[in-house]
């Protein structure tokens, strides 16, 4: 059986990919996608820990499902915001979004 | 009925405050409603006072209708009310003048609600002083009266006029006057508060009736800061005297008075002269002499000197005025001087008939001055409302335009002058009679003041009513109206009645005075 650490390494890699996307990409849609990657990395962790640590308990799966739901909602809201911004500024470049600047 | 009878003093005391509370819930823009509510409301204490008056037994000694309830047990202070002949006369004066003053303030159009509420609170404050038999309560009410009066002068006082201070600073006259009144009086009552607290600390009680008995004998515990009991008592005595002398006012503490009276609204002046000044004299009679008989006897000459100065200089200063209201204001200094002269004579001659006569005269003079000064201020207000000037030189020959007003002014002036047949004479005669055997020199000197009383009264009449008609006022000056007549008529009736048959009031006063000083 594949040891747990493999899953964890996979998840960490995935998370790093997501993080890189969030921090480095200019396109707001890409940032959203990065967030999705990070969430899914977390999901992998959750499911992996459930399977290896407490297989009798469903808590891990429940958490994973909750994260799905939340990320779906988040993407919906995020994309709506991006579209709204695009309509106003004809741009989805994150660096230009400084409405909250001092 | 029993309830009213048992709690009559509480009812008298707080009914004005209750009316003020009612006013609080009336809409501010309903001016007529506010005025009439305040007026009819102020008749309630008057009615209650009449009940009190007819229930009062003039022949009985001591205080009547006493009420006592625990208030501040830890320091021995209680809510203790009671009346004797002296305070009853003052209560009657207060409850009588307040409705008239409220009626006189119908000409006020600005912030009526606040005005009326303050006025009624003022009444409660004044009544409290006359009714309380507990030093602490006394002091509380004594100070309560200041606050509404401050606002009455400051907010509704005359709008014209400025007063120059040092360094080219000018302030509106009413600000100056209200400030002077407030700070000066507060400053003086500081000593009073300390002295009262000392009495309380030494004897463990603030109850006047108890104090009358124990305060004189509590020598041993009086030695504070290594000073002897006599010294401490003298200091406390002077603290009392200064506080009350300022309120009376006795020369040379009187300069707040002309300013305050001149700037106050008409009704404010009426109450200020009619009642507030009496608080000081009442303090002398109720507290100073009974609590410090020995000291007041020792220092009676000093007090008589100040009183004589007030009489003489008050009359001179009144004669020197060009401002009608200020002239009347100074006349108060002059007249209240006689009250203090009577008090000084009574203090000096305690236990003799001279004391009784002088004190009778002093209390009666308080009442009489209340009537005539209120009347005079009102009449000045009547003419001021129409001409908007108080400058005597700006009038002239107005008798031809306003004969009814002129007649009333002459009548009231004569009462103020002390014309025999009107009220002022009886009391001045009694004061002079009581003071002559014991304070001969001062009494003789005060006659100079009496002479100049004539001079300034005639000056007032001369400049307003007599002389060539100042045609500027033809067509502008209207005759005194019905409401104003209704204000002055009761005062005139009382002035005449007291001049002809003073016994109805004097018999009540005499009982208390004989018991206290005879």
């Amino acid at each position: 059986m594949i040891p747990l650490s493999w899953y964890l390494i996979l998840a960490a890699g995935l998370f790093c990919l997501g993080l890189y996307g969030v921090l480095a990409r200019k396109n707001a849609v890409a940032i959203l996608m990065g967030i999705e990657l990070m969430l899914n990395a977390v999901n992998i962790n959750l499911v992996a820990f459930w399977r290896y640590q407490e297989p009798l308990d469903v808590a891990g799966q429940v958490f994973a499902i909750m994260v799905f739901a939340v990320s779906a909602a988040e993407v919906a809201v995020g994309l709506a915001l991006v579209i709204s911004l695009y309509r106003r500024r004809r741009s989805v470049v994150a660096e230009n979004m400084d409405l909250l600047r001092w | 009925m029993d309830f009213i009878h048992d709690n009559i003093l509480t009812l008298v005391l707080f009914s004005p405050a209750a009316v003020a509370l009612v006013l609080l819930f009336l809409p501010a823009e309903e001016k007529g409603l506010l005025r009439w509510t305040a007026f009819t409301g102020s008749l309630v204490p008057l009615a209650l006072t009449l009940v009190l008056w007819f229930g009062f037994d003039a022949s009985a000694e001591g205080f009547q209708f006493e009420i006592q309830a625990l208030w501040y047990d830890a320091i021995g202070s209680s809510y203790h009310l009671g009346v004797d002949g002296i305070s009853l006369a003052m209560v009657l004066l207060t409850t009588l003048l307040v409705p008239l003053a409220i009626l006189a303030s119908y000409s006020i159009d600005d912030k009526i609600k606040a005005y009326m509420i303050l006025f009624l609170l003022l009444e409660t404050g004044m009544l409290g002083v006359f009714l309380s038999l507990d030093l602490l309560i006394f002091f509380v009410f004594y100070e309560i009266g200041l606050v509404p009066m401050y606002f009455l002068i400051n907010l509704w006082g005359s709008e014209k006029g400025e007063r120059k201070l040092w360094g080219g600073m000018t302030v509106p006259a009413r600000t100056y006057a209200s400030f002077k009144f407030m700070v000066y009086t507060m400053g003086a009552s500081l000593g009073l508060l300390l002295a009262i607290q000392m009495i309380g600390a030494v004897t463990g009680t603030f109850d006047l009736i108890e104090l009358y008995e124990v305060w004189q004998t509590s020598d041993a515990s009086l030695e504070v800061f290594g000073l002897g009991a006599a010294t401490v008592r003298s200091i406390a005595f002077w603290a009392f005297v200064v506080a009350f002398a300022l309120k009376v006012p006795v020369w040379p503490f009187h300069t707040w008075l002309p300013d305050a009276h001149t700037e106050a609204p008409t009704a404010g002046s009426m109450i200020l002269a009619g009642v507030l000044l009496k608080l000081g004299a009442y303090g002398f009679i109720r507290l100073v002499i009974p609590l410090y008989p020995a000291e007041s006897q020792t220092f009676a000459y000093a007090l008589a000197f100040l009183a004589t100065m007030a009489i003489v200089f008050g009359a001179f200063a009144a004669y020197g005025q060009r401002d009608f209201k200020r002239l009347v204001a100074y006349s108060s200094v002059n007249h209240m001087g006689f009250v203090v002269l009577g008090i000084a004579a009574a203090a000096l001659a305690q236990g003799t008939e001279h004391a009784t006569i002088a004190m009778n005269g002093a209390v009666l003079q308080m009442f009489n001055h209340g009537l005539s000064a209120a009347g005079m201020f009102f009449l000045v207000g009547v003419i001021y409302d129409r001409t908007h000037t108080r400058d005597l030189e700006a009038y002239g020959g107005l008798f031809a335009l306003v004969p009814v007003y002129g007649g009333i002014l002459i009548f009231t002036s004569m009462a103020s002058l002390g014309l025999p047949g009107l009220n002022g004479f009886v009391s001045e005669f009694l004061v002079v009679r009581g003071a002559w055997p014991v304070l001969t020199g001062f009494t003789a000197l005060s006659m100079l003041g009496l002479l100049f009383t004539g001079a300034y009264i005639l000056k007032g009449i001369k400049s307003t009513l007599h002389g060539p008609l100042n045609t500027h006022w033809v067509g502008h000056l209207t005759e005194i109206n019905k409401r104003e007549l209704f204000v002055i008529a009761p005062l005139m009736v009382l002035m005449l009645w007291l001049g002809i048959w003073p016994a109805w009031l004097l018999s009540v006063i005499n009982g208390a005075v004989s018991a206290l000083f005879g």
Partner: protein, 729 residues
């Protein structure tokens, strides 16, 4: 009706009239004067009835048991101050002449104030009527006198005045006497200032009030002194032998001037009279009081107010003379004699040089009152009372007569339209004898009474009695002074009569003068009768050494003042004072006629040539007005306005207060500028500034760039993670 009840009621009708006129009928002239005259009539009736009953009792008996009733007025301690009424011989006599004169004066006023005349064209309240233009049946326009604008008010004041006088007379104590006294003072003020819109009237009214008030405050002191010594002010107590005895022996308070208590009280009370009866040095108000309408002058100068002063001195004569044995003068009496005699002579000299018809009479009044005071000073109180009564009649007559003259002259002035003619100036008159016969004859009687025309007139008998008394008690200085004064009196009286009535008219106005209506002449006639017969009741019993029996009924007044059982002392007849009286009167009258009979219009006064500069001094009344103005009025003004108000009150006392306020202000400034501002406030400000600056600094990090934040977050997470790991190990 019981006499006591009646006495209580006597003063009331005028008071009721006053009240009703003021409150109700002031718009209706006829009703007002009906009330005024009716009230005067009722009081007169009461006075006459009481007088008749007093006579019925007999003065001897009445002196011992006067009509009296009293009640408790003021409760004072355990006792009461009583007031009440009392009619004894003195007050009965006073009541008699007061009743008559008041009634006559009130009646006279109807005519004087032009009742029934049309309203004036330009008349204003407060000014004398200027006359009205009427058109008669033929279309001619005439200027006629117009009715007084304040007609009703005049009767109201007269009523109050009468009330004051009646109160004074019927009082049984000095307190209510003083009440009446002061009420009259007020009324004299109101009446002298009746034409208040005139500057001169306004000033005269104030002068009268203030001058008499000088006396009044002393009198008040006298009252309280007496009250505190005797314990009462009722006559029956203060004049009881025990009280008088005590007063005569106690030294005055403070041992003042070595006087006895009685002496000091007497002098204090007398100063009241000096003011009220216009004695030197408080005489200055009375001539100015001529500003009032003429009936007022009569009222003040004859019937009531000035008489009140003398009446009071007669009343208190027991106190004045307490301690004197056998006619010896006490200190107080000496004061009276000196002031009285001096005033009599002094004002007679002034009267010589006056041209205003009423002013002459005013000074003669002062002079005659001086006679009475001097008489009291030498102990001749019956003579003083006698002269008081006769003088009241003939002086009221003279004043009303002069008013009638003025009224007639005013008629002439209006008729001719020459308003420069002063209707009161005697130089503008002359020849009125034929134009105003009733006025002339009555004025002549009055004038002769004043001059003391021998044997017929009332004035002769009373003046003679004073002189006889002075002679009999060897007060020769007083005797001579009064005799000279009497000579001058006769002289200026005749001067007045000559200038006014005799000769030819000196102006057109005088030529057109008119006799006055019956309401004015009737009182003149009535008073003229009294100006003659009033003297007959005082003819000495042993006149010319004859035994006339008890003809001198007036002497009974003495029983007022005497303790019971003592007969009043009489004086034996002596020829020298009689001859003196006759001589001075005759000589004076003759000289007056001689000097002035040839007086023509525009000529200077014959006396002016004779007296030279002295005349000017006399004309200016010895410059007393100027002197008093300089000595008292101006300093009083200065003291009031500058010294007391500006210096003492505003300067010193307020100065101290302001200094205190300034110190407080300064202290506050110190606290503010040295502690509050630099340390507390500044420190707090700095703190705030620092926080703000720091915030400025920090906010630079708020770029609004999400990725920037996330980067920082990542770095921090890493750093914190490293730190935590390191720390944990």
């Amino acid at each position: 009706m019981q006499t006591e009840t009646l006495i209580w009621l006597i003063p009331l009708p005028p008071l009721v009239a006053f009240t009703l006129i003021v409150l109700v009928t002031n718009k209706n002239r006829a009703l007002s004067h009906t009330l005024g005259v009716g009230a005067a009539f009722l009081s007169w009736l009461g006075a006459i009835v009481v007088f008749a009953r007093a006579i019925g009792e007999g003065f001897h008996h009445l002196g011992e048991a006067p009509f009296a009733s009293a009640f408790n007025w003021l409760p004072l301690g355990d006792s009461f101050l009583q007031i009440g009424v009392r009619i004894d011989p003195l007050s009965a006599v006073t009541l008699f002449f007061v009743g008559w004169t008041v009634l006559m004066i009130t009646l006279y006023s109807i005519g004087y104030q032009n009742f029934g005349a049309p309203k004036g064209d330009h008349d204003r309240p407060g000014l004398p009527p200027h006359g009205a233009t009427v058109t008669d049946d033929h279309g001619h326009k005439h200027t006629v006198p117009s009715v007084e604008p304040n007609y009703s008010r005049f009767f109201a004041f007269l009523g109050l005045f009468a009330f004051g006088m009646y109160v004074l007379v019927v009082s049984d104590n000095l307190l209510t006497l003083f009440v009446g006294w002061e009420i009259m003072g007020l009324c004299s003020y109101l009446l002298i200032g009746f034409w208040y819109a005139r500057e001169s009237a306004r000033a005269a009214a104030i002068k009268a009030f203030m001058t008499t008030r000088v006396g009044d405050v002393f009198m008040l002191l006298g009252l309280v002194y007496l009250y505190s010594e005797a314990g009462s002010l009722s006559y029956h107590v203060i004049f009881s032998p025990e009280v008088l005895e005590r007063l005569a022996h106690d030294p005055a308070v403070g041992g003042l001037l070595g006087l006895t208590a009685a002496g000091l009280i007497g002098i204090l009370l007398f100063i009241g009279t000096v003011g009220k009866s216009a004695q030197f040095p408080l005489h200055v108000w009375l001539p100015d009081a001529m500003e009032g309408p003429t009936p007022v002058s009569a009222m003040i100068h004859a019937a009531t107010m000035v008489s009140a002063g003398v009446y009071m001195v007669i009343r208190i004569f027991p106190i004045l003379s307490a301690g004197s044995d056998h006619g010896q003068m006490t200190a107080a009496m000496t004061v009276l004699a000196v002031i009285g005699a001096f005033t009599a002579l002094f004002s007679a000299t002034i009267a010589l040089a006056q041209n205003d018809i009423k002013r002459v009479l005013a000074y003669s009044t002062i002079s005659q009152l001086g006679f009475m005071i001097a008489a009291l000073g030498i102990g001749a109180y019956v003579a003083a009372a006698f002269h008081l009564m006769t003088h009241a009649f003939f002086k009221a007559l003279l004043f009303l007569g002069s008013g009638s003259v003025i009224h007639g002259m005013e008629h002439g002035v209006l008729h001719t339209g020459d308003h420069d003619v002063d209707p009161q100036d005697m130089r503008n008159m002359g020849g009125l004898r034929t134009r105003m016969p009733v006025t002339f004859w009555t004025f002549l009687i009055g004038g002769f009474a004043l001059a003391g025309f021998p044997l017929v007139t009332a004035g002769f008998w009373s003046k003679d009695e004073i002189l006889a008394d002075a002679w009999a008690h060897q007060h020769y200085t007083v005797f001579i002074t009064l005799a000279v004064a009497a000579l001058l009196t006769a002289f200026y009286t005749m001067r007045q009569i000559t200038m006014t009535f005799l000769g030819e008219p000196r102006t057109e106005a005088a030529r057109h003068a008119h006799e006055t209506p019956w309401t004015m002449t009737l009182p003149l006639a009535v008073l003229a009768v009294f100006a003659i017969v009033a003297g007959w009741i005082g003819i000495p019993n042993d006149f010319l050494g004859l035994d006339l029996g008890e003809i001198n009924f007036f002497h009974g007044v003495a029983y007022t003042l005497l303790p019971s059982g003592i007969e009043p002392p009489g004086i034996t007849f002596h020829i020298i004072p009689l001859l003196t009286s006759i001589g001075v009167a005759g000589l004076g009258l003759y000289l007056g006629w001689l000097v002035y009979r040839g007086y023509t219009a525009g000529a200077s006064d014959p006396l002016q040539k004779a007296l030279g500069p002295v005349y000017k001094v006399l004309q200016n009344k010895y410059y007393f007005d100027e002197l008093y103005d300089f000595l008292f009025v101006r300093p009083a003004k200065w003291i009031s306005e500058t010294f007391v108000y500006l210096w003492l009150d505003r300067g010193l006392i307020d100065g101290i207060l302001h200094t205190l306020a300034r110190i407080a202000y300064w202290l506050g400034g110190i606290f503010r500028n040295r502690l509050e501002m630099p340390i507390i406030s500044e420190g707090a400000d700095r703190l705030g500034d620092g926080v703000r600056d720091f915030g400025w600094l920090l906010r630079k990090s708020q770029t609004g760039n999400v990725q920037g934040y996330l980067n920082i977050g990542l770095v921090l997470v890493v750093v914190i993670g490293v730190v935590v790991v390191l720390l944990l190990n």
